[in-house]
Amino acid sequence: MSWIDIEDVCVMVGSKALLSGVTLHVEAGTWCTIIGPNGAGKTTLVETVAGLRRVTSGRVSVAGQHIARLHERERARLVSLVPQQPEVPAGMTVHDYVALGRVAYHGLLHAPSREDRNVVESVLERLSLGDFAQRDVVSLSGGERQRMVLARALAQSTMVIVLDEPTTGLDVRHQMQLLELLKKEVADCGLTVLATLHDLTLAGQFADRLVLLDEGKVILDGPSREVVRSGELSEHYGMNLRVVDVDGSDVIVPVRH
């Protein structure tokens, strides 16, 4: 059963096509990562699935529901978003920031319910943020901050989570740490993940499936290992990429001419 259905989607800005005839189905409980060079349309695609961008034609459904026809609150209970450059409001505590993920449940006029508070506490605990709960969000390091943004998305208790370059600005250890946390959530809660990543090695190691996007079109779509090992990556990234097997894992290495 697929949770995300993208059917022949086109997104135009003026006369420029950001997405052109994109069709994609993501199965429940799987992790699909979109890869591609800058300007390929990756961010546009995840924003479209999150309901933040209107499609010019085609249709995006999540759990069988047409995303553009849903009210914001209904949509926020279906899909959560980890943006590429999240805004972090100074003066807000980590706890309050994560609790924003529950707004779709208790609304804007009511205080969080006991269940809302329990969900927030649980997420803070799972992502090892409990000790930081009362700290100002701006006092966190880059890695802690990204975990906090992931925690807010998980607090939305959605079955689908979309992430736009969630590892931007993190060192290798924190990139791995964040993706491992997400992988655990996928395994424990049956989350369906649609993510974009620039790091092809990490993309290949964590995703069940990779989709190569270029100039708004799907070029390749398949199991991670097949996409990584196809010769088309080099062509679309405009450089020589070599795949090296390290202890059974594929590592993609750019080769300087």
């Binding site: 933040l52 609150r73 949509r75 409001p89 807000m92 804007l108």
Partner: protein, 333 residues
């Protein structure tokens, strides 16, 4: 902090009733206040009673409402526009009200309108200005807040130019009256003016305070707020409409009182933190107390003449703000 603000409010109310050119003992005034609610006896003479209940009380109540409304509207605007320089006059309320009031005072059309029309035309001018800004700024719903702010600047500039032209054409007596109105005053307060603006102010303050949770959530930006389930554009419309309507009602009654709407929310923010759930309700009480204190100074320091209220709000508010800012940053030891 809430308790401290409430104490300041009670002290401001008592000052507003007790302080004035005619000396009436504090405890006699307090006794008269209690007598009004059925506790104890009123020992005021008829003249003193008239001074307290027909002159000072309506002025004090209108001051409370004006301070509360301007402060909460300023805080709300700062939240919805995510701009620390926002004040209740951002979208052209002041320029529109100024033009409406000038229109009434300088008597365009030889007797067609009279100065008694000033509050009505100021209110209409303020609301039309905001509506015009909303339309020019892409109807607000579709546009971003920066576009709306720029539209407000353009509309205010246009209306101010018309108002300046009218002023230039007027007699010197009219110019003085326009100038006095522009600086704001509670001198013409009466129970009828209080009752006229009361419904607007109460409803608008309630809506603004209830928006605190929404403004906190919207501090992560428009796209992220939408992904969290917030109908950002609808919230923005309701909040701007309530702030503008309440401000227009107050301005029509007391003229343009500057500084309260921008500085009071900042002072409160420095004291209680950045959450609008706390800033907005405390701004209501702090703004109310602040304006009544300022008015008490304005009407007594040069008695029997009065200082413009806007001069006093700036003179008291600016040093207070700087002091709190310095203390918070540890500059003053």
């Amino acid at each position: 902090m809430t308790a401290l603000t409430l104490v300041a409010l009670v002290v401001a109310v008592i000052c507003g009733l007790v302080v004035g050119p005619t000396s009436i003992g504090t405890w006699r005034v307090v006794g008269a206040m209690f007598a009004h609610v059925g506790i104890g006896h009123d020992t005021l003479t008829n003249l003193q009673s008239t001074i307290i209940w027909q002159l000072r009380a309506p002025r004090m109540v209108l001051g409370l409402m004006a301070g509360a409304m301007l402060a909460v509207a300023g805080g709300t605007y700062q939240g919805v526009f995510r701009n620390p320089l926002a004040d209740p006059y951002l979208l052209g309320v002041a320029a529109g009200a100024g033009l409406g009031a000038t229109f009434a005072i300088v008597d365009i059309g030889s007797g067609l309108v009279t100065p008694t029309w000033t509050p009505l035309l100021a209110f209409v001018g303020a609301m039309l200005a905001v509506a015009f800004t909303w339309l020019v700024g892409g109807r607000g719903l579709r546009s971003n807040t920066a576009t709306l702010i720029l539209a407000g600047v353009a509309v205010a500039a246009l209306l101010t130019s018309v108002q300046t032209y009218l002023q230039q054409q007027a007699s010197s007596g009219s110019i003085v009256r326009v100038y006095i109105w522009l600086l704001g005053s509670l001198a013409s307060a009466s129970w009828s003016s209080v009752l006229l603006v009361l419904p607007y102010v109460v409803i608008c303050i309630v809506v603004c305070v209830m928006a605190g949770r929404a403004l906190d959530a919207m501090s992560v930006g428009e796209d992220e707020s939408r992904s969290l389930g917030i109908r950002v554009r609808q919230v923005r419309f309701i909040v701007i409409a309530a702030s503008s309507l309440g401000t227009a009602a107050i301005v029509s009654a007391v003229g343009l009182i500057g500084f309260v709407g921008i500085i009071v929310p900042h002072i409160v923010r420095l004291l209680v933190g950045t959450s609008y759930r706390r800033i907005l309700p405390i701004s209501v009480f702090f703004g109310a107390a602040f304006l009544v204190f300022a008015d008490t100074v304005a009407r007594t320091i040069l008695a029997p003449s009065e200082l413009p209220l806007g001069v006093v709000t700036a003179a008291i508010g600016a040093p207070t703000f700087v002091l709190i800012l310095s203390l918070r940053r540890g500059f003053v030891r």
